[in-house]
Amino acid sequence: MSAIVLAALGLGGFALGYVFYSRFIADRIFQLDPDFETPAHAQEDGVDFVPTNRWVLWGHHFTSIAGAAPIVGPAIGVIWGWLPAFLWVTVGTVFFAGVHDAGALWASVRNRGESIGALTESVVGKRARSLFMVVIFLLLLMVNAVFAIIIAQLFVDVRSSVIPAWFVIAVALGIGWLLYRRGVPLLWPSLIALGLLYASMFVGAVFPVSLPEEVLGLQEPAQWVLILFVYAAIASLLPVWVLLQPRDYINGIQLFVGLAIFFMAVLLANPTVVAPAFNTGLPDDVPPLLPLLFVTIACGAISGFHGLVSSGTTSKQLDKESDVRFVGYLGSVGEGALALAAIIACTAGFATLGEWDSFYSTFAAGGIPAFVQGGGAIISEGLRLPVHFAETLLAVMAVLFAATTMDTGVRLQRYIVQEWGVIYDLPILTGRVAATIIAVGLCIALAFGAGGGAGTGGLMIWPLFGTTNQLLAGLTLLILSVILMKLGRPTIYTLVPMVFVLVMTVLALLVQLAGFWRQEQYFLLVMDLFILAAAIWVALEALSTLRRARMSEPEEEVEVGV
């Protein structure tokens, strides 16, 4: 099968979903009203609530939700064959993620721009709010640990990516300084920054960097994990304009450039999908497709994390309520396109089925390295670039996504720890540095607890991360369903995804529980139990809340909470 056909089917499916399904949801279910006064206007303060151009807002929303996760998930998930991953990404994006993301945005806009956390309390109850905090903390913990491990693995696999990946920090610092201290217009610094970034990839190829094989019993990936957390701790303590802002900006630009390059290369090279539609010769350690596919590929099909972005910052800047469809739904379509790119890279980027098979020899063996090698081959063929450069380009892209997420993730974790310090009256937790050290310490413990001294086995956490992410999505869909029920509108479009996601999550946790027991991975076993408890808790809350909502009369004319 030709990769162009796969790309056309996927992108065509997204387009149909946007044109037809999202219009139906926007008009009939959410009943978006362009004249409704959004929080950005009603509560405009120049700080959080600012009406923003919908293209700009879409750009932010998309670049905040798209990171390394929609690449890693599909890159591992194609081990069951390209068809299940492809179907789950397209169907998931159109019917699950789009409704979930746009729904979270709509619910927040209709409730004074409140976050999903706050909505959980007002719609479901106080107990559910604490549950929500726990799930988010677990999610951040796993994101940071997993992403550090992924970057470390990339640094070891693609040594030419080390120099550009660190060099971009200097470039970002330079841009921040030029813009804020010197007031230089944005155009030239942007172009020069991109030029420098791509030039540094050539330098990286000439000077590949490697660390000593073993220091104090730590192997090379483990050393990188430690270095990365030291960096993340420092970066998260710096003022936003110094590093985070220019880094996010370069990242965003680079995401658009990368996606354009990739799909252009697919069009020019027209590679053949060598992977089987259904993989019948699965390696022994691969868990069953049902339910594991649905938690391995979370971002790119449906991800609870998006609801946090939708309701956290995007909803406070929405100019018109009718923009919900453009920003929310199309944001998840963008992420679906990234996941699609990952699927194509990992199934069509290999010359023969034998080569693909040898790459996907164990469950966690695929992942980002497959994306880098497969995608690199496609880009180098389509655009006539050296293979090594193309691979470095993709590796750096993945590193930058993961690293920026870590910067933000550690910062958010620090906020949560500081908040606990205030709630439980523990002044020691409220300090910036102390809270950061605690946050980073927990992440390091998780990264090493799962992988031992090598620090690499941590990719075992990936499906656990997916389950937590889906739990969050389930919670958000529950809140949406309750709000719709109270308005007397159809709830099936949010309830079906919710039930599906929660059932798959619980099943996946049970399957993994057995797996961890057999492999004597007790650390992960405990982690799994924690998440399972949270999952059951979410399901129970869902049942009782829905029963309560069903018994009360619908209040058609009155908007919830307004």
Binding site: V56, Q245, K316
Partner: protein, 90 residues
């Protein structure tokens, strides 16, 4: 004609790009700025609150400028009315 159309479009694009750069962290930056301004406000009004301020002679002329934000400031600091006897607000 097409030349001016292009440059207009380029300008529009650059404006959007600038907004793309700035708006993502606008809230965080504005909050930080506000915190610093609040501290400055406290400095300028410190003499009236009984905190000796050697620079008060110079900060006196800033009072009319800062008065605009005075109401928001005392509300943010958790005081319903002006904390100063001879400096009325609301």
């Amino acid at each position: 004609m097409s030349g001016s159309g292009f440059s207009e479009r380029l300008d529009r694009f650059l404006d959007l790009l600038r907004e793309f750069y700035e708006s993502r962290h606008r809230g965080a930056l504005a909050r930080e700025m506000r915190d610093e301004d609040d501290l400055f406000m406290l400095l300028v009004f410190s003499e009236m609150m009984g905190i000796p301020n050697p620079a008060s002679y110079y900060t006196l002329e800033l009072l009319p400028v800062l008065y605009e934000g005075f109401h928001d400031w005392h509300i943010r600091m958790g005081m319903e009315h002006s904390p100063l006897d001879h400096f009325r607000c609301c």
